[in-house]
Amino acid sequence: MAEESQQHQEFPSVVDRYFTRWYKPDMKGKPCEDHCILQHSNRICVVTLAACHPLLQNGKTIQSISYQISANCSRLQNKVSGKSKRGAQFLTEFAPLCRINCTDGDEYTVYSCIRGRLLEVNENILENPELLKEKPSTEGYIAVILPKFEESKTVTDGLLSQKEYEEIVLRRTNATPDTS
């Protein structure tokens, strides 16, 4: 970890160069199910799992990922056309994007966290679920969402900034030694 950050010191990564990180901790009240939204300067948002998410912890193995979120709604069927992205599914903060099942029987749901039109989901993680674990903030992304132009500034209002999120994580780690 230390080595990698040294190499990045001279030159920020692609995510650091073009995106702002926003966090939704304990999504839907489930402890540590933190989501991280990468917002590009052009307002496009990429939904990812934060590094603290239980799925990304040691010992977890992904069994399956499904974008079929209900009997008649699959995020894979989302099709957009033209510059104005006609035909996109519209998502609200709590819209589920996909369900991930682990070999230990746990199931996690990933949510949109922001309002906007769904542009694409990451089909690469269906072929290669390990991407999600190896590169959760880049190639293991979940979905790409385009907020409404007029909401581009306010769409992250309900989320935490990097600094606010780090404080929460710190509080959590300080709390854990007592319980374990």
Binding site: S13, V14, R43, K85
Partner: protein, 522 residues
């Protein structure tokens, strides 16, 4: 030699006695040569009176009564466009008999408005606008009601001719605009020292109006409703085109019942309501180098706020605008580079349309000096600066999609690089990649996956985490995304090929292989 063909004599008599000017009489007598129109108005008037009064071996038409004499009338110019103000006082001061009236057909166009004094006034304002031109088109817009008056007169003349067994088509009548050109072109040439021609890049456009007779058209709206539908940008529904269309549709009897012959002679003459000069766009092309990584190609504005001080476009066009004295410009180029990308080698072809330029005559030496001025910047350099045709610019845009581009990039890899891996890149030819629309442009472009070809690559080792990569690619390939993978949305990408995370630290365009504009020797 008689002024007009004998068979038209009754028409001439009829018109002259009803308040039509002698030049309009020539038109309705189908005189298709310009010299009679160019006779001094008084002389022509005299000849015409003599011609209709006495006819060889015939007595004058008993209906014939001498017409009122034509007098000088007010010429006033209202609301001139584009700051052209014509002082009409000079034209007014020889007003002699205000009770006398204008021609009932041309409303003064072939009378006072064909005189040297008026033409002089017009072209003094043209001259003061400061345009450079070799020749020009003189275009004239006439009030729509003239068509109604002409129609009425033609119907009457046709009837008169018919009595003697002669057919008379509307197209036989010499167009007012045509006659106006015949009279005014020599006067204009004298005033400006250049020729009025039918095709030129410089245009002088005059709009005449005649409020006194505007009402002539109104009855047409009742007979032909669908010809006069209100449109957003027109002040009046009675446009010339709409009136002509309505006249084609209306039945003769209906027309005659609503508009009786002869049309009344007005007391005023047409006035100039707009006078516009315009020069066709001039196109300047060249190739530019961009040496700065903090310079966008075009002004970068977000939410009305400038993000970067300058741009390639501005550094070039500020000098062009200053010497061509154009109203505005349009910048185009063969592709574009990002703000942080340099363009080296022979540069990127560009073309700039200069809209309504006032100065257009520049020789090779002038263009060289202009290039030198642009090149005083240390951020960009321009070469092969030249004036080109509009068609040639289209050629540049065609080349954009098909030509290859060469780049050089400084690459960082997360893992330590082995020499063999770099050799593997050297041996990769015609690599097909699938690129989804990059996230950085996805907000304004459709989402698609496009197949692109990396024709060849060559790598130069820098240190264990860095190397320089030279690429030759199909136009339209996103290089940055090929290197870092854009969240795995470009596949394969340099990172996936080398089984590491790769990033791009610097990118330069080495060549844009479009062989336009032609190279000039320095």
């Amino acid at each position: 030699m008689p002024l007009i063909e004998e068979k038209y004599r009754p028409v001439a008599q009829m018109l002259l006695s009803s308040g039509t000017c002698p030049r309009c009489v020539l038109r309705f007598c189908c005189v298709g040569t310009y010299s009679p129109y160019r006779l001094p108005y008084k002389d022509l008037d005299g000849e015409m009176q003599t011609y209709v009064a006495v006819s060889p071996g015939d007595t004058a038409d008993p209906r014939w009564v001498p017409p009122c004499k034509k007098a000088k009338l007010d010429i006033s110019i209202e609301n001139p466009g584009d700051n052209f103000l014509i002082d009409s006082s000079q034209l007014n001061d020889k007003n002699d008999a205000p009770s006398l009236r204008s021609c009932n057909l041309c409303l003064g166009i072939l009378q006072d408005l064909s005189e040297a004094d008026f033409i002089k006034e017009i072209f003094q304002t043209v001259n003061s606008a400061g345009y450079e031109f070799k020749d020009f088109v003189f275009s004239v817009s006439l009030p729509a009601q003239m068509s109604v008056r002409e129609h009425s007169t033609w119907l009457q003349a046709k009837q008169e001719m018919g009595k003697h067994g002669h057919p008379f088509e509307k197209t036989d009548v010499i167009q007012l605009k045509e006659a106006y050109k015949w009279i005014t072109h020599p006067l204009i040439a004298e005033e400006l020292g250049v020729q009025a021609v039918s095709k030129s890049s410089f245009e002088v456009a005059v709009v005449f109006a005649h409020p006194e007779t505007d009402g002539d058209c109104h009855f047409l709206a009742k007979t032909c409703k669908d010809c006069f539908k209100p449109t957003k940008n027109k002040l009046s529904v009675f446009t010339r085109m709409a009136v002509i269309k309505a006249l084609e549709k209306i039945k003769e009897e209906e027309f005659c019942a609503s508009f009786s012959y002869p049309p009344q002679c007005p007391v005023t003459v047409c006035k100039v309501v707009d006078l516009q000069c315009s020069h066709a766009s001039v196109f300047v092309a060249g190739r530019y180098n961009k040496y700065s990584r903090n310079l966008p190609q075009t002004p970068w504005v977000i939410d009305g706020e400038r993000k970067m001080e300058s741009s390639v476009e501005e550094l070039i066009t500020e000098h062009l605008m200053a010497v061509f004295k154009a109203d505005s410009f349009n910048f185009s180029s063969s592709g574009r580079e990002d703000v942080d990308v340099r363009t080296l080698g022979k540069g990127r072809p560009f073309a700039i349309e200069l809209v309504n330029p006032h100065r257009v005559q520049f020789n090779v030496q002038d263009m060289k000096e202009l290039q030198k001025k642009i090149n005083s910047s240390d951020k960009i350099k321009v070469r092969d600066l030249q004036i080109v045709t509009r068609e040639a610019v289209a050629h540049m845009k065609e080349g954009e999609e098909v030509k290859t581009k060469c780049y050089s990039a400084l690459i960082w890899t997360e893992k330590v690089i082995q020499e063999e891996e770099l050799q593997a890149l050297d041996h990769t030819k015609e690599l097909k990649i699938a690129q989804k629309t990059p996230l950085r442009v996805l907000h304004r472009r459709p989402l698609a996956s496009r197949l692109r070809v990396i024709h060849s690559m060559r790598a130069e080792y820098v240190d264990e985490h860095h190397f320089r990569l030279y690429l030759k690619t199909q136009a339209g390939t996103y290089i940055k995304e090929f290197v870092h993978g854009d969240f795995g949305r470009t596949r394969p990408n340099l990172g996936s090929m080398m089984k590491t995370t790769a990033d791009i630290l610097e990118l330069d365009v080495e060549s844009v292989d479009v062989d336009w504009p032609p190279a000039l020797d320095d």
